[in-house]
């Protein structure tokens, strides 16, 4: 499940809702990305999505992760629009019977979200605004998952 939100969201409530009633799960991994920035500024960054396309791309990615890692469930909540410093940007949740798969799937989903999901990010810094593109580290992170496993 993927949800794009234009207002802040409650990561703890999302974690609890995702974990509730799971008597066969065992492992829930999560990643929470927070907006870094000067707390005196109204926005640390601004995220743009392509409504409809962004959700369908991420929904397909979640299906890939569920199949690849044998997950029971996965969820992505992603903020769009202007985001104040300290606010949650993204929350990825994965559930599986064993912790290794839950961790790896969460890591995989974040790497894809960082460099291949349809978002465009503008950072608001002291010296103005700039569009952010994936870093070299983001690109090498994502390549870990492309390597043939055979």
């Amino acid at each position: 499940m993927i949800r794009l939100v234009t207002e802040t969201f409650d990561p703890g409530a999302e974690l609890n809702a995702f974990s509730a009633g799971r008597t066969v799960t065992g492992a829930v991994a999560s990643f929470l990305g927070l907006a870094r920035g000067d707390p005196s500024q109204p926005a640390a960054l601004e995220l743009e999505a392509y409504p409809g396309f962004t959700e369908s791309q991420i929904a397909a990615l979640i299906e890939t992760a569920i199949d690849r890692f044998g997950l029971q469930d996965a969820r992505v909540i992603h903020r769009i629009g202007p985001i104040p410093p300290g606010d949650p940007i993204v929350l990825v949740l994965t559930a599986s019977p064993h912790r290794r798969e839950a961790f790896e799937a969460c890591d995989f989903l974040m790497d894809y979200l960082k460099s291949r999901a349809p978002f465009w990010k503008k950072e608001h810094g002291a010296d103005g605004e700039r569009w952010v593109e994936p870093t070299k580290r983001d690109l090498s992170d994502i390549q870990r998952w492309d390597a043939p496993s055979s």
Binding site: F53, V90, W120, K121, W131, E133
Partner: protein, 78 residues
């Protein structure tokens, strides 16, 4: 036609309707080049992808009347 991220800043607009819709993506790009060479250059930049009707386009996709074409610069979420 929709522009995202820095492409919007290059063009100075986000959404524009082309009538009639060119038959192919390459024809649309040629029209853009004659109107705004800087934007046309940006569309050829590294990592820029096109989507037609919210599906990523491979190669010189055909366009139908009413097609929604979007140009997507390199993506960065999270």
């Amino acid at each position: 036609m929709l522009l995202f991220g820095r492409l919007r800043d290059v063009a100075g607009w986000r959404e524009r309707v082309f009538e009639p819709v060119p038959a192919r993506l390459s024809a649309l790009k040629a029209m853009i080049r004659s109107a705004d060479p800087a934007l046309a250059d940006a569309l050829e930049g590294p990592g820029v992808q096109a989507a037609v009707d919210k599906v990523l386009a491979r190669g010189d996709a055909a366009l139908h009347p009413g097609a929604e074409v979007a140009f997507l610069p390199p993506m960065s979420g999270g």
